[in-house]
Amino acid sequence: MQQSVESTQAIAESDAIAVERTLAGDRDAYRVLVERHSHNVFRLAYRMTGNRHDAEEVVQEAFLRGYQKLGQFAARSNFGTWVYRIAANYAIDRMRQRQKEEARREAPRAEDRDGMENDPLNRVPDRAPTPERLTQSIELRKQMEQALAALSDAERTAFVMRHWEGCGIEEIAGVLKSSSNATKNTVFRAVQKLRRALQPVVETRAQARTMGTEL
């Protein structure tokens, strides 16, 4: 029993040890990796796919694929980065699949995909909400989501991984199967497009705030 506790502690100390043990047949060691990295992978997946339903599917699939391919990981040192990359690749596939689904639908549903979970009202900052401020916040959020959705898969991936997740250019280039320079260009194009789409509305909001008419 004492030995078991010690080995659990050892697993928690290092992803590399957990990987080794998993490869040796200790399936519970993989549980440590899943529990340790699930939140980070979910955050990436949510930002890439834009909804919780797809994000959860991406997380599960990333860890399933990670387990299946764990033999290929052995020589590497950072499991978190590795599973992140698997998730990003799968999220790109999922986004493409989702686009095909949407294109096939005759009339896209107007309702929000995530129901209450993704209800704009739940995401608006909580300070003294007036109906007007809520309306404008919802409108801004909708425009931001539309601007993000209008990016190409590569641009969205590059932006999410660089801006929100702080990944290195080489790492993003690996996911996009592209060169470093091309990846930097992709980050630039993404920010430029977002700026073109959002700057007018952001400036209008800032002016309203300055004049004390903010909502």
Binding site: A24, Q68, R162, L194, R195, L198
Partner: protein, 263 residues
């Protein structure tokens, strides 16, 4: 003075600029470029307000619960993964579709290409129809039971829905498979209903095992609000009709698909 380009400023802001020191030096003395950078930052700051929902402290364990039954005892060669029961079922459906298409091709008279294609599609569709029909029936029963669940005693503070939750978990995996197959088959109407069903199943599967009467009512309202039971019934009924119809004319078949797309 030569100003910074938008590309240089964005690269600087995103930490990928090569001449970082030079840009910093320029920004220190150039108000115009500082203003431009501030405008870029204002947009990025607005984007930063898009939050990611917290999946909950228990999320890691939840992911493990979802994937653990699908993991082999030990990471195996890639083909071993397909020996797992659920994937075998998936492979079974795919094999059945291929066999059905092959048989349809063999039994159809040569020389009538359009008839051949129609027959192959009908047989392949029939296999999908039977499997999906059964799945929808199970889903409908689970949702009806959950919709009718209520505390046995008005003073009861918790209602146990663990049985429905486990069934929803099982149905969720099947649902994903059928949705993807329906998409591959080009049946957008069926895929759309399965997509909606998947979201409801996901909600139920992720609910606590024991809920308060108020939480139960919220789940029931969500099911009712999405009208998913009605949609499942309509689609299931239609699938049954398709199954009963021995040789529906292709034109009718197409119009039926179009009708369902309106659900």
């Amino acid at each position: 003075m030569k100003h910074m380009t938008e590309e240089e400023l964005i690269a600087y802001r995103e930490g990928v600029a090569e001449q970082r020191t030079a840009i910093s030096g320029h920004l220190a003395v150039c108000e115009e470029c500082r203003g431009e950078l501030e405008r870029i930052e204002a947009v990025l700051a607005a984007l930063d307000t898009l939050t990611v929902p917290d999946p909950g402290a228990d999320y890691g364990r939840q992911v493990w619960r979802e994937i653990a039954p699908r993991l082999a005892e030990k990471p195996e060669p890639w083909w071993q993964v397909w020996m797992e029961p659920r994937r075998l079922a998936a492979a079974g459906v795919i094999v059945a579709l291929i066999v059905a298409a092959f048989v349809a091709g063999r039994i159809t008279r040569p020389g009538k290409t359009s008839d051949n294609i129609a027959n192959k599609e009908q047989v392949r569709e029939r296999v999908l129809v039977v499997a999906v029909g059964e799945h929808l029936g199970h889903s409908e029963r689970m949702l009806v039971e959950l919709s009718n669940a209520e505390p046995s005693d008005p003073a009861q503070k918790q209602v146990n829905i663990s049985a429905e939750q486990r069934r929803a978990e099982d149905l969720l995996q099947e649902n994903r498979l059928y949705r993807q197959t329906a998409l591959q088959e080009g049946d957008a109407g069926l895929a759309s209903v399965l997509d909606e069903l998947e979201r409801v199943l996901l909600d139920v599967a992720h609910s606590p095992e024991e809920v308060t009467p108020a939480q139960l009512e919220a789940i029931q309202k969500k099911i009712a609000g999405r009208g998913i039971l009605f949609k499942v019934r309509v689609v299931n009924k239609e699938l049954q009709q398709r199954q009963e119809a021995r040789e529906p004319a292709p034109a009718q078949n197409e119009s039926t698909k179009r009708e369902r797309n309106k659900v």
